[in-house]
Amino acid sequence: MHDTMTIGEQLDIQKIRKDFPILEQTVYGHPLVYLDNAATTQKPTAVLKAMDDYYTTINSNVHRGVHHLSQLATDAYEGGRKKVAEYVNARYDHEIIFTRGTTEAINLVAACFGKKFLREGDAILVSGMEHHSNIVPWQLVAEERGAVVKVIPIDENGELVLDNLERLLDGVKIVAFNYVSNALGTINPVSTIVTAAHKRGIPVMLDAAQAVQHMSVDVQELDVDFLAFSSHKLYGPTGIGILYGKEEWLNQLPPYQGGGEMIKTVSFEKTTYNDLPYKFEAGTPDMAGAIGLGAAIDYVRGLGIENIQRAEHELMEYALSVLAGIDGLRLVGSVDASRRAGVISFLVGNIHPFDLGELLDQQGIAVRTGHHCAQPIMDRYCIPGTVRASMAVYTSREDINRLAAGIRKAAALLL
C-alpha cells in the first residue's frame, strides 16, 4: 500500500475534523457531537469535490459512447472499482461489483446463490447478531426454496458461541455473518468460521459494513467467498456499495437483474450475458457514487487505515473507562476494548433508550436509540433497545467527554 502517512504516525484529530465541514455547526445552541457514525459517516471535502468535479466536467454515460466524455467517465468509474479492489486486496478488479449498498449486495447473493444451489431441506447459517439486512434476504430465499435458516447463538458478552459450530454446519450450503456487529461492536472470529466452513466446502459471505471503516480488510487473507459493504459508512456517498465475490463463485451465479450493460447479445430467442463484473450491473450505474467512493478510499488510505484503527482503539479504551464511571450505566456487549470496534451500546438504570436519546439530542449530541435493525439481539438480552454511540476517525476525546456529561445530565432529569 502506498499510504502517504507512515504506519505508526499519530493522527491529528483536530486537523482531520477540518476536512468535515458538517461538523462545524451547532444544534440547539450546542456544538454538534456526532456519534451516529455506525448509521452513516460524514463526508470529507475531498469526496464532495470529486463528485462535484465529475458532474461539472465529465458527466456522461459509461461504457456506451465513442465520445470523449464517455471515455473519461468510464475511466473514472472503473478507477473507482480499481481503488475498491486495492482497498480490500481483491485478486481481480472484476471481482468487485457495484451495488446500491450492503443490503443489495446481500440480496444479490441470497437470490442468485439460492436459485442455483439451494434445495428443499438445505440450510443457511447466520449469526444471532446480524443486521436485519443479513437475515431477511436469507429468510426470503429459504422460504422460496424450502430451506431453513439456522442461527449461531451469542453469549452474555455479545460474543458468538462456536462450541457447536461443527454440528450447526450440518446441511448448510452457505454461511453469512458480520465481521463487526452494528448493535454491539463485537469483532467476530472470521477465520475460525471460514476454516470450519471451507473444510466442508461451504462458502462464506461476510457483511463488512461495520468493519471496512475501522480496520484493514483483506479478502484474500480472510479467504471469504463473498463480502459486502456500503460506501456511506466509509466516508463515501450514499447510494453505492460493494459486493466482492471470488471469481469462481461469481461466475457460477446466474444474473441478478436484467437490463442494459449486463448483456453481450440480445435476441428474442436467446440472450447471452456479459462477463464479470457487468453481468451483475444491469442499467446505468451510479457513476458519481463510484467516483466518490474512490475518493473516500483515497482519503482513508491517505490517513492510513492502521493509523485510524489505532486511534479509534485508544479512543474506545478512553470512552469505556469514562462511561464506566457513570452510575447505573450498563454496557451491552464486551467490556474489552480490543474485542470491539466503533460501537458502544449501553443502557442507564431503567431509563428507556428513547428518553435518554432525546435528552442527549437536546444537548447537541447525536446518538442512535432502539434496536438498531437487529431485533433478535435485543430479544436475546430482553431489552427494548439500547443507546448506541459510534465513532469515526474524526471523533475526539472532547466528544466522549460531552457524551458522558450529557448522559449524567439526562439521567439526573430522568431518574
Binding site: 428507556h352 428513547f354 427494548p384
Partner: protein, 142 residues
Amino acid sequence: MTIQETQEEIIADFDFFENWEDKYDFIIQLGKELPLIQEQYKTDENLIRGCQSRVWLHVEYKDGQLLFTADSDAVITKGLISLVIKVLNGHTPKEIAEAEITFIDAIGLGSHLSPTRSNGLLSMVKQIKAYALAYQAKSMQQ
C-alpha cells in the same frame, strides 16, 4: 373547558419555562406521576406498536363522552400522552374527531408527532381519532 381552551392553557404554562431542562423536567414529572392505565388494560390488544417505545391505550364510552387511559414504557412519551389525554378526555366523539392537536408543536415537541420518529404518540393520536369517528358514526345511527 373546550379542547381548544385546554390546549391554550398548556401552551401558556410552557411559556414560563426558560430552558429545555425545565420543560423536560415538567413533562418527565407528569410521566412519572400518574399510573395512567390499570394493569388489566395493558393487554396486547390495547398495545399500539411504535418503533421505539410501546404505548397502550384504553378507551371507554360513557354518557356520550370518551374517556381515555394510556401508558408508555418511555417516560417522555408518557408525559406527553398525559397532556393529550388532559386535552381530549371527557369530550364527545364529534368534538374529538374534529379537534386539531396543535399544542405539541407549539411547545416545541412537534418532532414527537413526526412519522419518522415513530415513538407511538402519533399512532396514539390517530387511534384516538379513529375511535372518535367510530363512536360518532355509531351515535348517528342510533
